[in-house]
Symmetry: C2
Subunit: 206 residues, 2 copies
DNA sequence: GAACTTAATCACCACCCGGTGACAAAATGA
DNA sequence: TCATTTTGTCACCGGGTGGTGATTAAGTTC
């Protein structure tokens, strides 16, 4: 312990470390304040460093957002427990819809990104949209297995409608706590939604 | 024609006129550029007057947004043709859902306001949300007539899910032109969505 | 025509934003 | 020990924003 003691000071002056500090700061800021607050100055303040480093290490906000998109690739695989493989495609999609609802509800970062996509069609955010869509598609493909949808229904469209409804209800619940007169705050409210969605998915594939 | 000719000059220097110019300018700006661009300076530029007048006549942006909300009260009644009264509640809701889809798709102003609600829970925008929700509730109440939903289903929740799906698909279509791998650009794409939604509403109330 | 009210404009403020260049300090290598 | 590269900080610029007097110009009334 002659020269290289106090290892916690080593943490400073470390590029990789500040890179992750910036990235995590940006993700936290986006989660908590929304995309409106995602600026160079705000991220730098949050990460506790100078904004110049954002330009140096990420090439500006664009690159930083792209990095966030990269982290987003597997947000579904992690949180969702391995579902017991159901017998029919209808059961599978019902269970998938409910899992998606809980996963999205527990992930404010993805919520804010989804809201961002609906508000700003800038090319910057299109990258994020593609990342999220790809993650969703991969997730569905992974748990689908060899089950096939009934031949006489438009399964992709049905799934899009179901996912759209879930996404919108979760976003509305997070902001206003209501939608179309239905409360979306307590867990009982969400049980109500779960019941209806399960019923609709089942009957749509019947 | 001694003194009061050139009546087009009279249009200037008229308070009511510039009030509506400001209000219409704000609505147009919101429709075309989104809520991010809705600032005092931008509205004044658009309306062709000084921003001071916004503070004088509306008490700032808040009052102006409130005025927009007031204009929003009857956006559904106007655009929707009087529906031929159907026989069952399921038929009624199916027809209402499709009418809502077209009405929202044709109204970029309401689209932008809906996106605003999902991105910013500020009290300013809550007023707008309430105005929109009230308009929706009144519209449904007006065309419901004496039809009652089946007793064994949670009709409000089902309707909320349907409206949420429609709203989200319309917003996604307007910005990214896709959702969950399903294209939302051509009219054929929307026919696909219409078919699926009609089918799901019908089966949900069966 | 003069006094007064109202509509509209202008000039200005502090503040925050994104972005950049110059500079200090720590590590690295000879 | 000295030179070089890397990491980090600071100061500054132009420009846009929300917000507020002070001022000018057009109607209105007597």
């Amino acid at each position: 312990m002659t020269g290289k003691d106090t290892p916690k000071d080593v943490r400073s002056r470390n590029r990789g470390q500040t890179e992750t500090a910036i990235l995590e700061g940006a993700k936290a800021l986006l989660s908590e304040e929304g995309f409106q607050a995602l600026g160079v100055n705000a991220v730098a303040r949050r990460a506790g460093c100078d904004k110049q480093l954002i330009y140096r290490y990420f090439g500006g906000l664009d690159g930083l957002v792209e990095a966030i998109g990269g982290d987003l690739a597997s947000w579904l695989q992690d949180g969702v427990p391995p579902v017991a493989q159901p017998a029919t495609y209808a059961e599978l999609m019902e269970c998938m819809a409910l899992a998606f609802l809980d996963a999205l509800r527990a992930n404010p970062l993805v919520q804010k990104i989804a809201a961002w996509e609906l508000s700003e069609p800038s090319p910057l955010v299109v990258k994020l949209a593609e990342a999220r869509a790809g993650s969703l598609a991969r997730w569905i493909g992974a748990i689908r297995g060899d089950l096939l949808p009934p031949a006489n229904v438009d399964a992709p469209a049905i799934n899009a409608v179901v996912i759209a409804a879930i996404q919108h209800l979760v976003l509305s619940g997070a902001t206003t706590g209501m939608f179309a007169g239905v409360a979306l705050r307590e867990e009982a409210d969400w049980d109500r939604v779960r019941k209806v969605i399960a019923r609709m998915v089942r009957s749509a594939y019947a």
